[in-house]
């Protein structure tokens, strides 16, 4: 019975079957038929991935207040459509090392990041963050430690790990926020060894340090770990996002670093000020790219 349950889990919305199917399709389906398949698969998941649909819908109600329900459902579909393309193109890069067009918004900040001895890249579940890390590692020949929220499905997590490590040609290492204490020490060590650590700062993960902040006028809990880490390791935080502009075309957006200096206040005050800076940047990004914010869990507190 357990074997059957385990096997069936492969076909759950976050099951590994869909990831494997995607790899199969990229290997077996002509590129010109992919838009048709992506359109239909998006529609399929729009109906069958109900928790994700509801989460995006509830987030959109806060981001774009006053919109009709129908309009927001269309926006949810569009967000899922972008997500489908994002993971498809990410896998395409992994399997075929295909070329991508990318623009850079914030060249100066990106160059500073590339030159930094050690740094924290603070990003969001937005656009193609996996591809972004791989491109960065390849372009600047830097190792990246990527911290992610754990995947609910073990096999999917293993598949994603392999994908990311293959995409980054060994320069991207993935860690999960399952054990907040041990990972904090690992990341601190990585920063002291002059590595770049990439953390997704838009989702509250159970067991990690969180603080409330204002996002779109509503209360949202965001992780404070990156700011504490930055303060201890004396490493700057670079907000970085990679948004999809079109077919195999991305924009890397880098903002000037958030510096959590030890002087000038208590640790709590500094963390709070940095968190506010981050939430302002995050809000600006989400406002412009709500259709690429893949927050498939509710982010905002209920009124």
């Amino acid at each position: 019975m357990r074997v059957i349950t385990e096997w069936m889990r492969r076909f759950a919305v976050r099951g590994v079957f869909w990831r494997q199917y995607l790899d199969w399709a990229l290997f077996n389906v002509p590129f010109y038929f992919l838009p048709v398949l992506v359109w239909f698969w998006t529609t399929f998941f729009f109906f069958f991935a109900a928790p994700a649909r509801r989460a995006v819908f509830s987030n959109l109600e806060v981001i774009l207040p006053g919109s009709s329900r129908l309009m927001n459902y269309l926006r949810v579909w569009f967000t899922m459509y972008n997500f489908a393309w994002t993971i498809a193109e990410g896998s395409h890069y992994k399997l075929n090392k295909s070329h991508f067009l990318y623009d850079i918004d914030g060249t100066h900040a990106l160059e500073r990041l590339a030159r930094a001895k050690s740094a924290i890249v603070l990003t969001a579940h937005m656009g193609n963050y996996d591809l972004g890390a791989a491109l960065f590692a390849e372009k600047f020949q830097r190792e990246i430690r990527m911290v992610r929220a754990p995947e609910p499905d073990r096999q999917t997590a293993r598949h994603l790990d392999k994908t990311l490590e293959k995409t980054g040609a060994g320069a991207v290492r993935v860690d999960y926020t399952t054990n907040a204490t041990s990972i904090s020490f690992d990341l601190l060590q990585a920063l002291r060894e002059n590595q770049i650590v990439s953390i997704q700062g838009d989702r509250a993960v159970e067991g990690s340090a969180l603080a409330s902040t204002k996002l779109f006028g509503r209360e949202a809990k965001l992780p404070t770990g990156p700011f504490i880490l930055s303060q201890i390791a004396e490493a700057p935080i670079f907000p970085l996002f990679i948004v999809r502009l079109g077919y195999r075309h991305y924009r890397i957006i880098v903002r000037e670093p958030i510096v959590c200096e030890r002087s000038g206040g208590t640790r709590e005050e500094i963390v709070s000020a940095s968190l506010q800076q981050w939430s302002a940047t995050l809000q600006e990004m989400i406002m412009h790219h709500w259709d690429q914010w893949y927050a498939f869990v509710p982010t905002f507190s209920k009124k």
């Binding site: 199969w24 399709a25 990229l26 290997f27 077996n28 389906v29 002509p30 590129f31 010109y32 038929f33 992919l34 838009p35 048709v36 398949l37 239909f40 529609t43 295909s98 070329h99 991508f100 067009l101 990318y102 623009d103 850079i104 060249t107 079109g246 077919y247 195999r248």
Partner: protein
């Protein structure tokens, strides 16, 4: 700062637009990065298979059944294509095992098989009403021109042609 990989951004996949590009002094290197080409060709393939299926089914259905079947068929056909793609992939694997098209990527073999199947659908449309006949004829003409362009590109010692 913009990073544009060579020959990727504005090139084509199919032989006919590549030949036109070459004749007008442009670059004929095959590319899978052309979004308008991907969307238009994928939609046309799907449209022809949809028209073929509706043409088979509609004469047997009443008006109310037609009203139900037409939208459902849009999604039913997607399932049908998934099965066809899987069978085609098995054929492609089989061909490659016996040494046929061994140096071609599997999605290129799949493209040839899809092209053959869609042309069969289009040929069937030639026996239908005037609009469907025109669509079928246009597809067949397009395939013929593309094959001719592929041949010409091969004679020009170009890259392997895309069918």
């Amino acid at each position: 700062m913009k990073n544009v990989p060579p020959n990727e951004a504005r090139s084509n996949y199919f032989a006919l637009p590549r030949l036109i590009r070459k004749l007008s002094g442009g670059d004929a290197t095959p590319s899978e990065s052309n979004w308008p080409e991907a969307v238009s060709m994928g939609s046309v393939v799907y449209l022809i298979s949809y028209l073929f299926t509706t043409n088979l089914l509609l004469p047997r259905l009443g008006w109310w059944q037609t009203a139900i079947v037409l939208p459902l068929l849009l999604f039913g056909l997607w399932i049908g294509w998934l099965i066809v793609l899987y069978i085609n992939s098995l054929i492609a694997t089989g061909c490659q095992r016996i040494g046929l098209c061994a140096d071609l990527p599997r999605r290129r073999v799949q493209s040839v098989l899809m092209g053959i199947l869609t042309t069969v659908f289009a040929a069937q449309l030639l026996t239908a009403g005037p609009w469907l006949r025109a669509i079928g004829a246009l597809w067949i003409l397009g395939v013929a021109l593309n094959l001719a362009a592929a041949l010409l590109l091969a004679l020009f010692h170009d890259e392997p042609s895309q069918l």
